[in-house]
Amino acid sequence: MIRLQGITKVYPMGKGELEVLRGVNLHIKQGEMVVIMGPSGSGKTTMLNLIGCLDIPSSGSYYLEDREVSHLSSGELAQVRANRIGFIFQTYNLLPQLSALANVELGMRYAGGIDPERAVAALDRVGLYDRANHKPSELSGGEQQRVAIARALVKDPPLILADEPTGNLDSHTGEEIMSILTQLHSEQSNTLVMITHEADIAHHCQRIVHLKDGQIIGEEEL
């Protein structure tokens, strides 16, 4: 599903350069649920952005579903994001002016078109059927994250990426979100890659990848 080979990412910084990733090799099989852990500044988010085709590596190759994507144009990357990848963010990133349902529909907009029935079904699966017409500001943090999950899942992408999905939630709500994620993952065959620094959260996954100073320093199977 995902194969990273010798990935580096270098950002220009003032006169010098900042090397965020230094030769990452990683293989993730289809259907796996993998968590990336590491201290802040270790390059977790940069790595997730690369996997999510929001950015391209400075060197190395990245095969997504056996397709080399590290040299695609921004338009082609957008197509990949639209059809193959669903994002879940720490800060939910819902559009405040849209209702919960419209936010979910937005997940389909760039992936072939809006199907309101599927959007309602996705909201139902995260238990927010009766909140469809509420604006994000009228929902709790946990509910907003559930809308975001529905938005990511509605187009049924092969790959779901979550950047600290429970980072802004209390531990109880965080557990709730994780149980939704694991349940949805077990029902569908998609691959889930997640960042977290909470050990409790990480233990919902099948494999933990430890990242430090831009390199993978260890992996553990659970």
Partner: protein, 415 residues
């Protein structure tokens, strides 16, 4: 199609989210479009009115004036100051030129008119009976100067509507005597009002037989004893023959005045038709000029749209990042912002159209600017709407491009 509807809906959502800001932006376009529509319609109305005034004189009228010549380019130059047209010239035209229904020689001078305690300055025009036909004049009271009046040099007068109003407030003027310089004339008729026009109006004039006017000392004769007159008006039976008549009259007068070939005419001939086209050309230019000034207002409105769209792009950086993460391509974002600015300015265009239309109707109805009937023609409407959408797209271009080119990672991180 579905994609376009979605874009339009997104644009509507975007505008609705910031009601005050959107309405202020729209206001700029509204003012611009309303200004264009109302100014253009006033201009068109004025043109129409001027033309109808001129044409009420009779569009088949040709006037001959002495001494001056109008170059085709419009540069006027005087050739001597002597008047050269004579009564005999007019008679010759009437006898020799075909397609002519009336030849009206006339002279005029300005004099003070006195009736009882009222007095006014008016143009005194000495005319022949043919003047009535040449200028399409109707009397509202009494009768026009007859052939008998003319032949006998009767001391009678036909007065214009404004003269009646000034001198005879309420009194019936027929049969009343007016002092005109050293002479006294009896009013025998009142002319119907024709409204003001560029050719001078008979409303402010008093008409007396040409023979009566010639009895005054101010009238000159040529060395051969012919009576000089100040103009000849010629009515042509068939408008299509106007050019032919002009050339015939020119030839006749050149030979009568012994103008050597190669020399300039010592008179000038103008047809009303020519005047109409000259006037409508100038006034159309004026209308376009007014429109251009109003267009500046529209331009400023457009810059307002651009300004707001730029602010909107910055404010919605995070939204753009989210959309990009969800798979929006550059052209999707571009289209979204272009649609929004086109939507804003088109709405402004529609409202401005209504306001401008209302304004021009109001101007017509209240007669603030005289009795102009404003004309909102479809070409102005289409132009104003097309320009407002064009402005939306043009001034939305830069902000939309800026939005489309945002880096998704930086946009998502933007607070």
């Amino acid at each position: 199609m579905k994609r376009w509807l979605e874009q339009l809906f997104t644009a509507w959502e975007g505008a609705r989210t910031h009601k005050l800001r959107s309405s202020l932006t729209i206001l700029g376009i509204v003012i611009g479009v309303a200004a264009v529509i109302s100014l253009m319609s006033i201009g068109r109305g004025t043109v129409a009115q001027i033309l109808s005034n001129i044409e009420s004189l009779g569009s088949n009228l040709i006037t001959v004036t002495p001494g001056m010549s109008f170059e085709r380019g419009g540069v006027m130059r005087p050739i001597g100051s002597t008047t050269t047209l004579t009564l005999e010239d007019a008679q010759a035209i009437a006898e020799q030129v075909p397609y002519v229904t009336a030849v009206a020689p006339y002279s005029s001078s300005s004099q003070q008119l006195i009736f009882e305690i009222n007095n006014m300055n008016a143009q005194v025009i000495g005319v022949t009976p043919a003047y009535q036909e040449a200028y399409n004049l109707e009397t509202s009271e009494g009768a026009f100067i007859s052939e008998y009046n003319y032949q006998s040099g009767a001391k009678v007068a036909v007065i214009g509507a404004n003269v009646e109003e000034e001198l005879f407030s309420g009194v019936s003027p027929i049969g009343q005597q007016i002092r005109m310089g050293s002479r006294i004339v009896t009013v025998m008729g009142v002319l119907e009002s024709k409204g003001t026009s560029m050719m001078g109006s008979t409303d402010d004039a008093i008409l007396i037989p040409l023979s009566t006017l010639q009895q005054t000392v101010s009238q000159q004769r040529t060395s051969t004893g012919e009576y000089l007159i100040s103009s000849i008006a010629i009515a042509v039976s068939d408008q299509g023959q106007a050019d032919y008549v002009v050339s015939e009259v020119t030839d006749l007068l050149r030979s009568r005045h012994r103008v050597a070939s190669g020399e300039d005419d010592d008179f000038s001939i103008r047809s009303v038709e020519e005047l109409v086209s000259a006037v409508s050309e100038t006034t159309e230019t004026m209308t376009l000029f007014l429109g251009a000034i109003a267009g500046i207002a529209l331009l400023v409105g457009g810059i307002g749209v651009m300004n707001i769209m730029l602010v909107s792009v910055v404010e919605r950086t995070r939204e753009i990042g989210i959309r990009k993460a969800l798979g929006a391509r550059e052209c999707d974002i571009w289209g979204q912002f272009l649609a929004e600015s086109a939507f804003l300015s088109f709405s402004g265009g529609i409202i401005g159209l209504g306001v401008g239309w209302g304004l021009s109707k109001l101007i017509s109805a209240t007669e603030i600017m005289g009795s102009i009937t404003t004309v909102v023609s479809s070409d102005i409407v289409i132009l104003a709407l097309a320009v407002s959408v064009g402005i939306g797209v043009l001034f939305g271009f830069l902000p939309a491009r800026r939005a489309a080119r945002l880096n998704p990672i930086e946009a998502l991180r933007y607070e």
